[in-house]
Amino acid sequence: MNTILFFLPFIPLYAFLAVYVERKLAGFIHDRYGPMEVGKYGILQTIADILKLIQKEDIVPNAADKVLHKTAPLIIFVAVFTGFSVLPLSSGWSGANVNVGVFFLMAIVSLDVVGVIMAGWGSNNKYSLFGALRAVAQIVSYEVPLGLVILSVVMVCQTLNLQEMSFQQGAFMNDYVGLENQQNYLFGIKALGVNVTEVGGILTWNIFRSPILLLGFVLFFVASLAECNRAPFDLPESESELVGGFQTEYAGFRWAVIMLAEYGLMLLMSLLGVVLFLGSWNSPLPNIGEIKLFDWTSGTPGTFLGNILGMFWLLVKALFLVSLQMWARWIYPRLRVDQLMNLGWKVLTPLGLLLVLISGVWRLLMVI
């Protein structure tokens, strides 16, 4: 059964909660309460918002390019959702078995910006167009460091398949067909001679298997913020100058779909970050001697309990990253366009190239 069947209902639910959490978080950071009126602690606020949005008239500006304007939210939504299809959920519940998994995900997600530019152009509004142009410049630039970071992970893991990557980052590695004889060593240095294959937990996560990937994770997080158009990189929709950026002219349900896709993309990027760096669906607790914390907290692969616990760990980590993204939004000011480009091309890209080089060396340490 494909994981998309899980994600399809999960994402509206998650978006519903995420919007609420983001507001509350913003409130706490600003030292205020956030929504309090609808329901206890304002918990039903999002539902009220959704009801309002659905009732609203679907306004298409008279001078807009109707075809582009109407199809754009669809393309954005579909592009983001297709990305979920390759993500694994647990040891027994892998995504579509695509050998080029992570590469496919990157390609499909980059389709998202086609929708953005369609929306921006089709709205016939200069704010929308500026927003869309910024989005293109931003996403095309930040795909470079993102790609380099993912490449370095792929070099360490020697696979593009996300499920295989997941298995590598835990004590169940030898259960995966094709990985039976692989061993994990502490910090990925075989010469140290500390075999942690059966220990699992945080010690086998990619950021520990090859500690240089810790830097990679930071790069990935920054680049993923830019890919999701989240603050401090939310230039395509910067409210203070562009009204709403490419989504200025959208109202009602279409706007809701765009927002849903945006939150979906945040989750997708966070899930990808977890799978690539933070041990995927593996429990963070290691087996210490007789205290088999890892085994106790992950169940047996393939069983019902195993699936449930895998999903639990995966989603907990991913949602933690999502809240980090939200946090970043409220504590950092927005970058200027030139600062954004400088950061992308002069900092992240060189670091990414360095990372690829070091990861190659580290991979050699892992086998020699």
Binding site: V100, F103, F104, A107, V114, K126
Partner: protein, 166 residues
């Protein structure tokens, strides 16, 4: 009809329709966006040919490429007013004649092809095999492309900076 056949005809139809749209539409922006669909269809055909990696690369590269194209189409036209960027179809008759001639000649020619039968190698399309090929047999091509990209970058940057100065 077999299911895979049906799927492949579906993708071929996407490619044909989208590609025809590119030259039938007068709106430059539509043409650029239709190119994306055409490329997606092609990617689908590659997947059916077991060339997943090529398919994904196709999407990856062409989406970025088309986006830049769209941005140029918008910026070069100096038209931020939202009016469609329109090109006229000139030389319609001559164009049709050329198309018919081209299709006729190429169609007639390729009807006489005798394909060389290639033994399908196991896993020849896998990412690993491609990677190994790239750093062994095709290492030279690989490195040359690096030189090629370097030179293109240098040239582009030189001209960009020169134009800005003047």
């Amino acid at each position: 009809m077999e299911f895979t056949n049906f799927i492949s005809y579906f993708f071929i139809a996407i490619v044909v329709v989208a590609s025809s749209g590119i030259f039938l539409t007068k709106n430059v922006l539509y043409a650029a966006l239709l190119l994306v669909f055409s490329m997606l269809g092609l990617a689908g055909i590659y997947v059916l040919l077991n060339a997943e990696f090529v398919a994904v690369t196709q999407i990856m590269i062409y989406v970025g490429g088309v986006l830049v194209l769209v941005v140029f189409a918008i910026m070069l036209a100096h038209n931020y007013s939202g009016k469609p960027l329109v090109v006229e179809n000139n030389n319609l008759k001559l164009g049709l004649f050329t198309v018919v001639l081209f299709v006729g000649v190429v169609g007639y020619s390729i009807s006489g092809v005798h394909y060389a039968v290639q033994k399908e190698q196991d896993g020849a399309n896998s990412v690993e095999a491609i990677g190994v090929q790239l750093i062994s047999r095709n290492l030279l091509s690989f490195e040359l492309i690096a030189v090629f990209l370097l030179v293109s970058l240098v040239g582009a940057i030189y001209f960009a900076s020169k134009i800005r100065k003047t």
